[in-house]
């Protein structure tokens, strides 16, 4: 009788049942390290803010780890392994610790581990001490909590760390960029010199920037160098006057690779970059077998690959060219209940379900949703151009006298501070509350999926529909408002604000240099008034007084009003 027994009797190692991480004592040199570096975990981005550390061989290093995130993280420094240069196999071993993982701070007992921090809890800090290896080379460091190492890693470069550029200057420009601009037509807002190309310190967090770096660098070893250019948004690399690589910028962080033959000696580099909106990154590294890497930026992820492209492009496009696409999202700088709609013909709107009104219209590309589905979700940006906000705020109001100001939005306030009782709270915060006169009812999609937004104003139903059109070959938007029922006397529709409202031959009113609007179904009046408006972004909602010109349309109800918004000149839309 044969007994097939699969005797996989696992040896359950008796790990200490106390769940605390046993900390090593700080070394004798802890008060006087050779290098002291602060590394922060970037909240919501699953990354370290420093992906490259350069130290001398044998340096005594103190790392100050800061974790402002609301997850725990760690930092583990490992030996390099040519068969696992990024430590992915090592990270997989850490995940396999499974149920033992938390007790071991997700770090196995392995000769590959050079230094480990233990888990750094949310909002906590920790010091980590180690001596850099004596052998020059690249040593990966990563967070070994399951799933984090794909993005949360860096390289410790042991070797000499002379700057690569012998001289380097930068010029920063502001504007609405969707491709590398012609810098000759622009005036920089900031210029200077730098040691290397560091986009984060120059424009970290700012949108709408282009940067031009120009400098010279020394090549020590001649050969066919492999360049890695990674950027978000776009970038263009020129060496010795010849274009090497270019990134269009409409996708998430993308890497272009190119080979360049370089003789030993001094060479010229020109690197142009633009940032439309959302996260920014620029990484440039070159390698050659047998030579030390040339690193031009503190971000080396173009070569290490520690950045994942989330599925899908950033720019949201119509699934069906004949149908509109409704996208409910946060739009940067606007009130929080934004409903963005892309129409065929590259006309787009943002309709606010807070103010129940058209908030903005623009043409060209629809929306850049990179921040939305990259890490924890941070909202979207308008990706097109020639954006106009005819009014912002509510559409309808009762003004008992034509001199009464337009009062917009509905705001509550409290004495409130974090974790303090009402008696101890001195700060006043304000926030939006539902407007008593308005109720949002939703929207219906017609045969072309064009939405008709429905709401009630003082109990009267209003249907607000939009469709794209062209006038003289130029983009325009037709708006149809159907008011079903009698409105109270002295109700006005706000059609435009702040424009000069000069009348044009076709009966339309000029809002600004970009756009004119025409009203049909009622007769508008122009007035000057000091309105009380909500100032976007509506993060802390406050009413602000604003003296301005207004285009008002008296409405009585049971009527249809049509407003046509037209751009007055052809746009420079990319195909």
């Amino acid at each position: 009788m044969k007994i097939h027994v699969s005797t996989r009797i696992k040896c359950v190692t008796l790990i200490s049942l106390t769940a605390t991480w046993l900390e090593a004592e700080p070394p004798a040199w802890s008060a006087k390290p050779d290098r002291e570096i602060t590394i922060s975990m970037v909240p919501a981005k699953m990354a370290y803010d420093t992906t490259l550390l350069r130290v001398q061989p044998g340096a005594k290093v103190k790392l100050n780890l800061k974790n402002p995130d609301d997850l725990e993280h760690n930092l583990v420094l490992i030996k390099n392994d040519p068969e696992d240069p990024q430590g992915e196999r090592f990270a997989a071993r850490c995940i396999e610790l499974g149920a033992q993982g938390p007790k071991l701070a997700w770090t196995p007992d392995s000769p590959r581990v050079l230094a480990k921090s233990g888990m750094v809890g949310p909002k906590k800090e920790r010091e980590m001490f180690f001596e850099a290896p004596s052998e020059p080379g690249d040593y990966p460091y990563l967070c070994t909590f399951p799933g984090h190492s794909k993005l949360m890693r860096g390289i410790l470069k042991v070797g000499n760390n002379d700057p690569i550029f012998s001289n380097l200057s930068y010029k920063v420009y502001a504007g609405e960029f969707r491709k590398i601009p012609d810098f000759r037509k622009l005036t920089p807002i900031k210029t200077g010199n730098a040691e290397w190309i560091d986009v984060r310190t120059l424009i970290g967090g700012e949108d709408g920037r282009a940067i031009l770096w120009e400098g010279t660098f020394e090549v020590r070893t001649g050969g066919e160098w492999q360049f890695y250019l990674g950027s978000d948004d776009g970038a263009e690399l020129v060496i010795d006057g010849k274009g090497v690589a270019r990134n269009g910028g409409n996708y998430f962080f993308q890497v272009r690779k190119a080979k360049v033959r370089l003789e030993p000696g001094v060479h010229k580099m020109r690197l142009a970059y633009f940032e439309g909106g959302g996260p920014e990154a620029l990484s440039l590294v070159a390698d050659l077998e047998g030579a030390e890497d040339m690193i031009f930026t503190p971000d080396i992820t173009a070569k290490t690959g520690a950045r994942r492209s989330w599925a899908g492009p950033k720019i949201v496009k119509l699934r069906n060219p004949d149908e509109a696409l409704v996208f409910r999202t946060f739009l940067r700088g606007r009130s929080s209940r934004s409903i963005a709609v892309a129409y065929p013909g590259r006309v787009n709107i943002n309709w606010s379900a807070d103010s129940m009104n058209l908030d903005q219209l623009w043409r060209g590309d629809f929306v850049n949703a990179a921040s939305n589905w990259n890490t924890r979700g941070g909202g979207s940006h308008i990706a097109g151009q020639d954006t106009v906000s005819p009014t912002g705020g509510m559409a309808l109001q009762v003004l008992d006298s034509i001199a009464d100001p337009w009062i917009d939005y509905s705001v509550g306030s409290s004495r409130y501070e974090k974790d303090k009782g009402p008696e101890e709270s001195t700060a006043l915060i304000s926030y939006g509350i539902p407007h008593p006169d308005y109720e949002f009812k939703g929207y219906d999609l017609d045969a072309n999926r064009f939405p008709t937004f429905c709401y009630t104003f003082k109990g009267v139903e209003v249907a607000d529909h939009y469709s794209p059109t062209t006038i003289g070959g130029i983009e325009a938007l037709k708006r149809t408002m159907v008011i079903r029922g009698d409105l109270p006397p002295n109700t006005y529709l706000l059609a435009g604000v702040k424009g000069d409202f000069s009348g044009l031959p076709d009966g339309s009113y000029k809002i600004n240099e970009l756009m004119a609007l025409k009203v049909e179904g009622a007769t508008p009046v122009v007035r000057s008034s000091e309105a009380q408006m909500v100032k976007p972004p509506a993060r802390k909602t406050e009413l602000v007084k604003e003296k301005r010109k207004e285009l008002l349309v008296p409405v009585k109800g049971d009527q249809t009003i049509m407003i046509t918004y037209r751009w007055m000149t052809a746009g420079q839309l990319d195909k």
Binding site: I3, A44, M46, P122, G147, H148, A311, R337, D419, S425
Partner: protein, 487 residues
């Protein structure tokens, strides 16, 4: 010669006995759906449509319907895009021909009017709460309770403060559009569901005022622990009564003390001990299958994002207070579980995402179905508090000889209730264990614990217990939150 062979055989049998471990997959089979090419489905909620299709909502804003979901892969699953780019739907439900979705700005109901398979009518059921634009202000919604309400729960701003209307609150939304504030004191929810008795429960994450993550009962009118949202009381009319008194801000409070100081405070029903049961509990779902999904009919299941697991919770009411025990149920899902549903036909659907927070399941997105194989696992079935300990029932008869004190271990502990972030286990006690009685049918035992500490989590492990057939428990540890000790 013979003696040697017997020795050899008996050591093999010993090997067999040791290797005779049941696996979860013996009892529950997981099927992973193939996501349509080019799409990302970070499953946050499930519902069954009136035509039998399974609807799944994605964190990205899409709602898909899947035909043949129950029979995949024996039949091919057909995915249809029902709605697109909603603003982060975190809970869906089907009622009377409408698909309801709780999304960031509102509870919406939608319908396909022209029959092309896509919703074209979107009605706002309720939008009576504020959003500042902060990414962390998540809003979750349950399926319908017997009175036609969806229970919504709203995360604090950043998970710490309340800078928009009703952040830190639970709001009950009726299908007719009426919205009523139901409870305050919420911190960072991960999901909300209704048990078979019609009571709502949500999961609240470890953090400020939450020593550990837990399952909390949304008792109407209650304060659930985090005081930051309480400044919105002035907007509630009188439906919630008076604003509760402030909790202990000193930094070393306790739940039992808060119960005495704050009359409307309701402690967590079942604490999910941090680092043991999980770290980020999400969806809450009752087993309505009346036995088709196995032996846990009527009990609750809680999804867990960080560990990529589903846990089980047994609930009971003692002296009017909900409490009970958490158990592990299934491990090893592909991503971080966020959505969860059990159909009356006995199918469990789950799925999720690991985007932004990392999980032991390494996939970005997932949709999975779990079927019961029909084989009965050996598990602790129910755990009830008694005046001097607990009564445990089992899904299969135990071997009475294994029901001795040395087969069990117990440690009891509590947590700080304070404005600090989380808490270690405190006031550890290891009570003495006595097996007071074993039922004749082997299906239940009485354990006596001395002392029994009100307010403490009692972590009772039974690694030495064996079924009559010699199997150890599939999951041998219960985590019981003892809010009340019965007479």
């Amino acid at each position: 010669m013979i003696t040697k062979r017997i020795v050899f055989l008996s050591s093999l049998w010993a090997g067999l006995a040791m290797a005779q471990q049941a696996k979860e997959s013996d009892y529950y089979k997981v099927t992973t759906f193939e996501i349509p090419k080019g799409e990302v489905v970070e499953a946050t909620g499930f519902a069954v449509m009136d035509d039998g299709k399974v609807a799944v909502s994605s964190r990205r804003g899409q709602i898909w319907t899947i035909d043949n979901a129950d029979h995949y892969p024996d039949k091919p699953a057909k995915w249809n895009l029902f709605a697109e780019y909603l603003h982060e739907p975190l809970g869906i439900a089907f009622l009377d021909g409408w698909l309801y979705a709780t999304q960031r700005p509102e509870v919406t109901r939608m319908k396909d009017i022209d029959g092309d398979g896509r919703a074209d009518k979107y009605e706002t059921v309720s939008d009576d709460w504020g959003m500042s634009g902060d990414y962390h202000e998540f809003t979750f919604g349950s399926r319908f309770d017997p009175d036609g309400n969806i229970w919504t729960v709203h995360c604090l701003t950043g998970s710490y403060t309340s800078e928009a209307l009703y952040r830190g609150w639970a709001i009950k939304v009726n299908k007719d559009g009426t919205a009523v504030p139901a409870a305050c004191g919420v911190r960072s929810p991960g999901g909300i569901g209704v048990n078979l008795q019609g009571d709502a429960f949500y999961t609240d994450n470890q953090g400020t005022w939450n020593g550990s993550s837990s399952l909390k009962w949304v008792k109407p009118g209650s304060f659930l622990g985090n005081p930051n949202g309480n400044h919105h009381f002035k907007h509630t009319g009188n439906v919630m009564g008076e604003r509760p008194p402030e909790p202990n801000y000193s930094g070393d409070g306790r739940v039992m003390e808060a119960r005495k100081q704050i009359p409307t405070y309701v402690p967590p029903a079942v604490v999910l001990p941090h680092g043991k049961v999980g770290q980020s509990p999400t969806a809450v779902e009752p087993d309505s299958s009346e036995g088709k999904f196995g032996p846990f009919a009527g009990q609750m299941f809680v999804a867990e994002q960080t560990y990529g697991q589903v846990q089980r919770v047994f609930l009971e009411k003692v002296n009017g207070m909900y409490q009970g025990a958490a158990f592990h149920f299934l491990r090893g899902f592909s991503s971080g579980n966020i959505g969860l549903m059990i159909t009356p036909e006995g199918k469990m659907y789950t799925g999720g995402s690991n985007r932004g927070w990392g999980s032991w399941g390494t996939k970005l997105d997932s949709v999975e179905r779990i079927d019961w194989t029909g084989k009965m696992p050996f598990e602790i079935h129910q755990m009830r508090a008694r005046s001097d300990g607990f009564e445990l029932t089992f899904t299969r008869p135990i071997n009475p000889a294994s029901a001795k004190p040395s087969s069990f271990s117990c440690s009891a502990y509590t947590y700080r209730y304070s404005k600090g972030y989380g808490s270690p286990e405190l006031e550890n006690i290891e009570p003495e264990i006595e097996v007071a009685s074993v039922a004749a049918d082997g299906l239940s035992i009485r354990i006596k614990l001395t002392p029994l500490t009100q307010g403490h989590v009692h972590e009772l492990a039974a690694p030495g217990l064996r079924s009559a057939k010699g199997l150890p428990l599939l999951h041998d540890t219960a985590y019981y939150t003892l809010n009340e000790i019965p007479q």
